[in-house]
Symmetry: C2
Subunit: 337 residues, 2 copies
């Protein structure tokens, strides 16, 4: 079954290929009557422009790329990426851009994928996540002149657009809330320490704790996995001077922490209050439901996609703050006994 081309339409309409192209793209150069006739024929025979041909003649690939640089084990339960992806799609779909996905193991492999995609003109731009300090991907993207949007910051990304949320403000709010409840010994289980937003959070956490006169403040580094979350929680809870509240850098570790507390016979929130970063259905799923720092990840993703499309169009894009974070109190926080 041969799929129709503009030549087929041209033949049936009795005009040239060029006229059909103008008609379909809303360009001037054809009369309104002819345009209608051509559009009707296109509709009738179910015409879709061959994306390859379109991409070849100087135009766009009309696709953007996203790499996921985490082991499949984590990707599965982290709601974050899926939320982000559905946000992208809402925006990309509206502009009939496709999203091309690739799971990679290392930043080096990720760079290779960018090179290949860009070299093959498979994509018009990429969305970069999990940004680190002095990220090796940034100079490569600049050198390739590959349109990109970095999610997470703010950091030094040169000419590349970035979009970030006020993590410092959020963690400050969480600590203030716990202190207002009466907590003095607050600990934190962080994500991967290399990541820029982890550093932002750690800095803000230390600052707000200092300003509120809290001592005994500790941040244990982890890696977003349940295993590490459990391990860190156990370390925090077996000490003699154990914290009465723990803030986790993601929901998965918070749920794991909750399980450890229950396993050790501690009551949540009676003996231990828990705050999760990034609200997700997971937080409401467990008992007690977890107090969380919520933000609309889909909207955040949509905003990122919008910025990327602007960057692809050669528009000036900068440093955008988006995705307001707010505290959603649930059953996992209470005054300490």
């Amino acid at each position: 079954m041969k799929r129709p081309t503009i030549a087929d339409i041209a033949r049936r309409a009795g005009v040239s290929k060029g006229a059909v192209s103008y008609a379909l793209n809303g360009q001037p150069g054809v009369s309104e009557a002819t345009r209608k006739r051509i559009l009707a024929i296109a509709q009738e025979i179910g015409f879709n422009a061959n994306s390859a041909a379109r991409a070849l003649s100087g135009a766009r690939a009309r696709a953007v790329g996203l790499t996921l640089c985490r082991p499949a084990r984590i990707l599965g339960i982290e709601p974050w990426f899926m939320g982000l992806i559905s946000g992208f799609e809402a925006e990309l779909g509206a502009h009939s851009y496709a999203l091309t996905l690739q799971v990679v193991a290392t930043p080096e492999q990720e760079i290779e994928v960018y090179r290949r995609w860009w070299g093959e003109r498979r994509i018009d731009g990429v969305i970069v996540t999990d940004i680190r300090e002095d990220d090796v991907r940034i100079p490569v993207l600049q050198q390739l002149q590959l349109p990109a949007v970095v999610i997470g910051g703010p950091g030094d990304t040169g000419s590349i657009a970035q979009i970030w949320s006020d993590d410092a403000g959020a963690i400050t709010e969480a600590v203030r809330y716990l202190v207002a409840l009466g907590h003095h010994k607050i600990a934190r289980v962080s994500g991967v320490p290399d990541l820029l937003h982890t550093q932002v959070r750690t800095k803000a956490f230390n600052e707000v704790c200092a300003s509120l006169g809290l001592d005994n403040v500790i941040t244990l580094p982890a890696d977003y996995t349940g295993e590490e979350g459990s391990r860190a929680t156990r370390r925090l809870l077996i000490g003699g001077d154990r914290p009465t509240a723990i803030i986790y850098d993601n929901d998965v570790m918070a749920v794991a922490g909750l399980a450890v507390a229950q396993e050790m016979g501690l009551s949540v929130p009676g003996d231990l209050s828990i705050v999760a970063w990034d609200d997700s259905p997971l937080c409401s799923l467990v008992h007690p439901p977890l107090t969380a720092l919520s933000r609309d990840i889909s909207a955040y993703g949509a905003q990122a996609a919008r910025e990327l499309l602007n960057a692809i169009d050669g528009k000036k894009v900068g440093n955008v703050e988006a995705g307001r974070v707010h505290l959603t109190p649930r059953g996992s926080t209470a005054p300490p006994r």
Copy 2:
């Protein structure tokens, strides 16, 4: 920065475009010395073949499509899809195929996406999930002659390849295990009843229960979300004659069920045993960790991708059983008190 083309290579090597094409594709028609020289130049200037040009000249788009037809809320925490995706990628990456993703709301929208992708020659094939009885997508795929692999079955997919796992055997094993522990009142919270694999499981569940002489057997339909899982669990547990064990059709509902039991003051596994379908880190994350029906979803996805690539190559593909399911006992199951 102009990206290099085969014409650039040809100029530098002092040969024609055609020779370069032969050399790069391992075709006969160039001497070994020339081939090496051309490959070296390609390497040096970082050449990647323009995928659009390649796709245009009769070849393949070297991409396959996957649509996700679930609300973002669910997609986020269901490890299933991410596991599947990383499985696809392992296989697709090895053949340098890209994966194009689209989130859709309805099967009708999904069909539209297939039509567009195929019309645009953006993809060479699709992977279809969540198959229903008399699925509306099947006849469309056949009419379009779009290579496809259906995940979940076995069902009536005509000429389209399908890949499925032995769900009936798995649920039989789970029920036998619970009966061996001493349970007589076993309930089940199922996924969306329209889905083919839900029906397979329900049928097998009823059969094994009947054969073991269990009465009081009930399957409550739900939709894989935590909310529905909680609701169904509550309905099961408030009755006078409440079950001592519940089997859930996915991990998310099982975790939600666990939370409901804890909230109602029931001990798991003392008062209630819980079995989750589809093991994932989520099952080991909670307390107690959930006994689960495990299978290697990534491998399952990889197998599906392999079948799809075969279908794209015009090879005969059929009805493949893969992804052996086995029971992984953990802390959520025990003899009833």
